[in-house]
Symmetry: C2
Subunit: 187 residues, 2 copies
């Protein structure tokens, strides 16, 4: 009963990552949809409508508009890095040498270990989030990256919280998701 119940078609495509830079105004209904869909991205229009008290055709329309407006950029399964063999997480701050900035030269995205790249204000121009299988693995990546400039490495000992969910601006309804599934690399 906990397991899958019923069959039925569901073929909505992942996401046409169309970028319409229109300022889509989100109302209450939109936010309820986003909340539910961030909690369970596989909800059917039927079930979703049931939860937010709206008819299936209506929610379908809303969802499509949210997708086309670029608010919803996709649907994905969330994989626990630990259980998938990527036990090590690290943050790397680096100040790029002018000529060899990682963002321009090395194509940091070429490293599968690089999960995030952000340009920052402050002394260090960039912060990277890395994910590696072992410390040895991490060491290798760090070594490679080191060529792109001065860097500071911070190895994550444990992750207390990691919830990409976007919540409604004026609301403090964080679903209090305890760090389930997130553990120390050493535990």
């Amino acid at each position: 009963m906990t397991i899958g119940l019923a069959p039925g078609p569901r073929v909505r495509k992942a996401v046409p990552v169309n970028s319409l830079r229109s300022e889509y105004a989100l109302d209450d209904v939109d936010w309820r949809i986003l909340t539910e869909l961030q909690r369970d991205g596989r909800l059917s229009f039927n079930e979703l409508g049931r939860r937010i008290h709206l008819s299936a055709p209506s929610v379908a329309d809303r969802v499509r508009k949210l997708e086309q407006a670029g608010v919803i950029t996709g649907y994905r399964a969330v994989v626990d890095p630990q259980r998938a063999g990527h036990g090590i997480t690290a943050f790397v701050q680096l100040r790029c040498a002018l000529g060899s900035c990682l963002l321009r030269t090395g194509r940091a995205a070429d490293y599968p270990e690089v999960v995030e790249i952000h340009k920052l204000s402050g002394a260090h121009c960039t912060i990277l989030k890395l994910r590696a299988t072992t410390l040895a693995h991490l060491e290798g990546v760090i070594e490679q990256l080191g060529r792109h400039g001065e860097m500071h490495t911070h190895v994550v000992l444990s992750t207390q919280f990691d919830e990409p969910t976007v919540s409604r601006p004026g609301t403090v309804d964080r679903p209090v998701t305890p760090a389930t599934g997130w553990t120390s690399p050493a535990d």
Copy 2:
């Protein structure tokens, strides 16, 4: 055709976050499933099986095992923070005062703005990722957080890459997802 095609049932529940600390060994098939499901979390067993050349019942079985093993922890819609009104992202490093460590006292998870909490090695004991609607908003949060210890704030100017996807350890098949939908707070 780009839009939804066909109807059909799909009621698989979000995720029984059961924590079975069994070392589930992932083989090639598992990784192909994870890859596809991370790309499109709404794939049906049929379509998924079609893509990895496996029968629907088989993939269903696999997926269920991956869920129960805690490898797949959920399915969620991905929302673009920018388009959802959260234009500001920031990293905060803080060294907790012994008595008032954020992780123990303040329940950092109570702040909806706190999206990630990691304990670190190195001088600063913790790194937080924040998400706010405006700089003023961020300022307020920072101020609150400041009571928990010495901290360094880094505001994200732009995000080049943000792909939570977990890739197969030995593989370098990163889908080269350009920073679509990720832009500077100021653009």
